[in-house]
Amino acid sequence: MTFTRLDGRKPDELRELDAKVGIIPRADGSAMFKMGKTIAIAAVYGPKELYPKFLQDSTKGVLRCSYSMMAFSGSGGERVRPGPSRRSKEISWVTENALNSALDLSKYAKSVINVNIQLLQTDAGTRCAGICAAALALADAGIPMRDMVGAVAVGLYEGHPIVDLTKEEEDVEGAVDLAVAMLSRSKKLSLVQMDGKIEQETMKKVLKLAEGAIDKIYVVQKKALLEKYGGSGNE
């Protein structure tokens, strides 16, 4: 392919990834996940007893996520209005669903596990970075999981399939932005959200790209977890 992206990356190349586990000492589990200029931190508190009581589930625990962008985190330099918004409420909800399919909360009847996701700095793909960070934080908190979860934005830029869009790329006229969360091992989708229009065949192509990206994210996630708990463990 002869086309180049705005920042010179290859179509299937992710931005620089970085992850760190255990960044918040008072939380039961915590993690930072960075994709280029997008930085998300996640903290897990719980399991604790869930109130109000009618929200309790007597057969399994409940996952509750909250997503928010910090006031100074906007990519355009503009202040983000703090507090809940329609957008953050929706993202909290989809994050919850994306993570819930990987969790096994059967041991935590009547309890809640709170996941707080904060964006320190944003350049598109915030819900994806948030999900990656939250999955790490949940693993750090020792919550049983059937699979790790990774998430990445894929899409079309001037008709070319690409992964991990930046703000500039997703704002282009006619661009397609597809946020995808996947279970890392089984490659089952747990979140698909799209802006723009796409054909069926192209959709398959971009989802294939996402699979490759999730593998790369998994390597970073695994490394971050092992780093906190003492390397290979073969001392």
């Binding site: 935590y108 009547k110 309890s111 020792g142 059937r146 279970l183 977890l225 708990y229 463990g233």
Partner: protein, 229 residues
């Protein structure tokens, strides 16, 4: 069908990692089977024991099990129960019958036996699937705690602190002249005659907490305790 183990003994594995292939292996604690694969559900040390594959978690909150001895705080008193907070999401109950061998009259002041904010060493007798928990105070070593101090450790590291046939805990007790009770929920009660002893025991336990995944820990603890004497 090929059967193979995909980890080294005591390797640290992460949730979702495939530990073994083949129907010849059996999934143990912290693992599950999906088709041919045995998969880890938690971050921990993977171990093989014959055909059984299990995982010792390195983190995570305490999940109550029948028969566990735990240390808890009296959080609430009702007409017929003491409700205990032992770091689990729900309170657990000690009924009148299990609370004391005395006959307790209806409407008696239950604070005479265990008052608010008292700490007790107690045993789990029953856990239902919806996490209702019954405790008992009847049994050897189960009692109200007086004096000393309580520290908190990671619940998954408690077996390491106790050691094989209580070797580790006895080592600390002998070297510091302290009484120590470790609750499976991660609360540890330490009482010594001298404050310095208590501090030494605390330091030793915190050292195990930090180095729980390291082999030859007993030697390290011996060295640690011996060094200060």
């Amino acid at each position: 069908m090929t059967e193979e183990i995909l980890f080294k003994e005591k390797e640290i594995v992460i949730p979702g990692q495939v530990l073994a292939k083949g129907m010849g292996y059996v999934p143990g604690e912290g693992t599950f089977r999906e088709e041919d694969n045995i998969i880890a559900t938690q971050l921990g040390l993977a171990k093989v024991n014959g055909r059984l594959i299990k995982l010792v978690p390195l983190n995570g909150s305490y999940v109550p099990k029948e028969g566990d001895v735990v240390i808890g705080r009296i959080a609430e008193i009702t007409f017929s129960n003491w409700l205990i907070d032992f770091g689990f999401s729900n309170f657990a109950a000690i009924s009148l019958k299990d609370g004391s061998s005395d006959y307790i009259e209806k409407g008696a002041d239950l604070t005479k036996y265990y008052d608010y904010e008292d700490y007790v060493v107690t045993k789990i007798v029953n856990v239902t699937s919806s996490n209702m928990i019954d405790l008992t105070m009847k049994g050897p070593g189960l009692r109200k705690i007086t004096g000393g101090k309580i520290i908190e450790v990671t619940a998954s590291k408690v077996p390491r602190m106790i050691g094989k046939q209580a070797s580790m805990i006895n080592l600390i007790k002998e070297n510091t002249n302290c009484q120590i009770v470790i609750g499976q929920n991660g609360l540890v009660w330490i009482k010594g005659d001298k404050l310095a002893d208590e501090i030494r025991a605390t330091d030793a336990i915190m050292m195990i907490e930090e180095n729980a995944h390291i082999e030859g820990l007993t030697e390290k603890v011996k060295e640690f305790l011996g060094g200060k004497q």
